[in-house]
């Protein structure tokens, strides 16, 4: 048998260069990718854990071990607890709005109408454009003096011209502003994901259900939702991770202010760890993201696995 197999090959297997063997080449092909991820993702991650239990600052870079002292100090700080609450609040509220708008948008854009291509291209813009640049436009729209939003509200009589809203200067409005920008940035992602899901629902199944007397809501919940649920879960996880770990929107729009009312874990970690140079406390704050990322990862893995079976 081996004789036949070798006979069909122009070069005997044994004399082949070692690099031609799949059992060597496979791992060799994938080694650089793994090396990159290990050196620049895994290693820094462990370094962050190490910083979090040492007394490391930019001004005094000592790896002196202090145990859980940093963690205790962070947990006892009012600003931190407030920040943790903010992070959840921003994430959950903007996800809800993003998903709702995404669903509505997809149901509109799945229809065939003239100008649909242009409408879709315009709707996708907030997700496509670099977030730091898009946030600048919002900052200008929320300007304390020349806000176009205020101008419009005054023009239609919904706002007192003597007392214009200070979008980024008062706590509640600053929160609204940050959530608006997050939801604005996320909903196009929701739209395209829902669109992809909706087009994957077999049309004959829907037609059959309609003939059997299923109405709009029933078709929606009994047929469409179960089919597109895995895709929606993936979208939700990505959206949640992006919002939960965001730093740029808050940093550019409010810089955590006024008086820390819009501070999130990312922006607080940046202020403490980079601007104040207190690397170890900054590391503790940022590591608080990790348990939630882990949870998101586990859910994502479940969805990916179930789909493949």
């Amino acid at each position: 048998m081996t004789a036949i197999a070798e006979g069909t090959r122009p070069v005997p297997r044994r004399s082949r260069f070692v690099l031609d063997r799949p059992e060597f080449m496979g791992p060799l092909f994938i080694a650089p990718a793994i090396l990159y991820v290990v050196l620049l993702v895994a290693l820094p991650f462990f370094l962050a854990i190490y910083y979090s239990v040492s007394a490391y600052t930019i001004f005094n870079p000592s790896y002196h071990f202090v145990g859980l002292k940093n963690l205790k100090e962070v947990l006892e700080s009012d600003i931190f607890r407030h920040t943790l609450g903010n992070t959840f609040f921003f994430t959950i509220v903007s996800q809800i709005f993003g998903l709702l708008l995404g669903k509505v948008g997809a149901m509109l854009l799945i229809q065939d109408f003239p100008g649909r291509g242009i409408a879709r291209a315009l709707v996708v813009l907030p997700w496509a454009v670099p977030v730091s640049l898009a946030v600048l436009a919002w900052k200008w729209m929320f300007d304390s003096l020349y806000s176009v939003i205020n101008w419009t509200l005054m023009a239609v009589g919904l706002m007192d011209p003597m007392n214009p809203a200070q979008w980024l200067g008062t706590t509640d409005l600053a929160m609204t502003a940050v959530i608006t920008v997050h939801a604005w940035r996320l909903f196009p992602f929701g739209v395209v994901i829902f669109l992809a899901g909706l087009t994957s629902v077999p049309k004959d199944v829907l037609d059959a259900a309609t003939i059997d007397g299923a109405g709009f809501w029933r078709r929606n919940y009994v047929i469409i939702m179960p089919i597109i649920l895995p895709i929606i879960t993936i979208a939700l996880i990505f959206g949640t991770v992006f919002t939960f770990t965001d730093l740029s929107v808050v940093y550019l729009l409010t810089n955590g202010g006024p008086v820390n009312s819009t501070q999130v874990l990312g922006s607080l970690g940046f202020q403490v760890g980079v601007l104040s140079g207190d690397v170890s406390h900054g590391a503790v704050i940022c590591l608080f993201l990790f348990p939630f990322l882990l949870l998101a990862t586990i859910i994502l893995l479940k969805v990916l696995r179930r789909r493949e079976i």
Binding site: L40, F45, L101, V123, S132, W140, A196, A235, F270, L293
Partner: protein, 282 residues
């Protein structure tokens, strides 16, 4: 109500919903556009209607951007970073994706998912330790630090995209080339790569746009104006003191957004099928 009238009412509310949605999404970009070309006197005027030009449009802000700021330098920096990151990504991801697609068994699948998951690791978690690593390497305050770090998120995503693509290329093609006397590398380069040009193009576009969108690492690693990529330079250096020069700012944001927006729109479907892991069957 007659059927005709009902249909017209239905169409009417459908179109108003579409218009509202598009307005919400695109108004900030319209606002960028009109701000860019408005004269300062027109911009900072509460009396006139702000939605359109009340004085003649001007190129003043654009001129200023190109002659008196480092705008062109930042664009150049971003392009340089983008090209280098794309090159690194291709060199690392192409063989990795191919190998994952051809490796037998469950292990390859787990490895693939493992690499993809690192895409979920956010810059916010790593910017502190990485900034120490960067300064140990002597790369602080240099755009090369970004060239080194950006592949940490482009490689996972692109390897995943390519793996999916290579799986769709029949195994018989590379096996036939190997039987004909090609080496494994030869088979990959001569038969698989030419078939993969669309996938490679997608990877190039995505790696490039992902680097164009990044902000956190750039903010942490770089403080010299002449080393900044476009997103960072516009957001931090065009604000002088506490004064925002909105004409220039919006002009810069607009010019740098357009190419990314176009690229994204063209390759959106591939991006979505990548992120959902090919869950969507058209």
């Amino acid at each position: 109500m007659t059927t005709m009238a009902r249909r017209i009412a239905g169409t009417g509310s459908f179109y108003s919903a579409v218009v509202l949605l598009v307005l919400f999404a695109a108004f900030p970009f319209y606002w960028m556009l009109i701000t860019t070309f408005k004269q300062d006197g027109d911009l900072y005027n509460l009396q006139s209607i702000p939605y359109w030009f009340n004085e003649s449009p001007t190129m003043e802000h654009i001129d200023y951007l190109f002659t008196d700021t480092l705008f062109l330098r930042w664009l150049g920096n971003s392009a340089l970073i983008g090209v280098c990151v794309v090159a690194i990504t291709l060199v690392v991801s192409l063989p990795a994706g191919y190998s994952l697609a051809r490796m037998p068994g469950r292990a390859a699948e787990n490895l693939g998912i493992g690499i993809f998951l690192t895409y979920l690791v956010p810059p916010t978690l790593l910017f502190l330790p990485l900034s120490r690593v960067i300064s140990l390497l002597g790369l602080q305050d240099s755009l090369w630090s970004l060239v080194l770090v950006y592949p940490t998120f482009t490689i996972p995503f692109c390897t995943w995209l390519l793996m999916g693509f290579f799986k769709s290329v029949p195994r018989e093609i590379d096996e036939a080339a190997i039987v004909d006397g090609c080496t494994m590398v030869g088979a990959f380069v001569k038969t698989i790569l030419p078939l993969s040009l669309p996938a490679i193009l997608t990877v190039i576009i995505f790696a490039f746009t992902l680097t164009m969108q990044e902000f956190v690492y750039a903010l942490t690693f770089i403080s010299s104006s002449d080393q900044k990529p476009i997103t960072l330079g516009v957001a931090t250096d065009l604000v002088r003191g506490d004064v925002y020069y909105w004409g220039e700012l919006m002009g810069a944001a607009l010019i740098s957004s357009i190419p990314v927006a176009i690229a994204y729109n063209l390759f959106l479907d591939r991006f979505i099928s990548g992120i959902t892991g090919g869950a969507v069957k058209g």
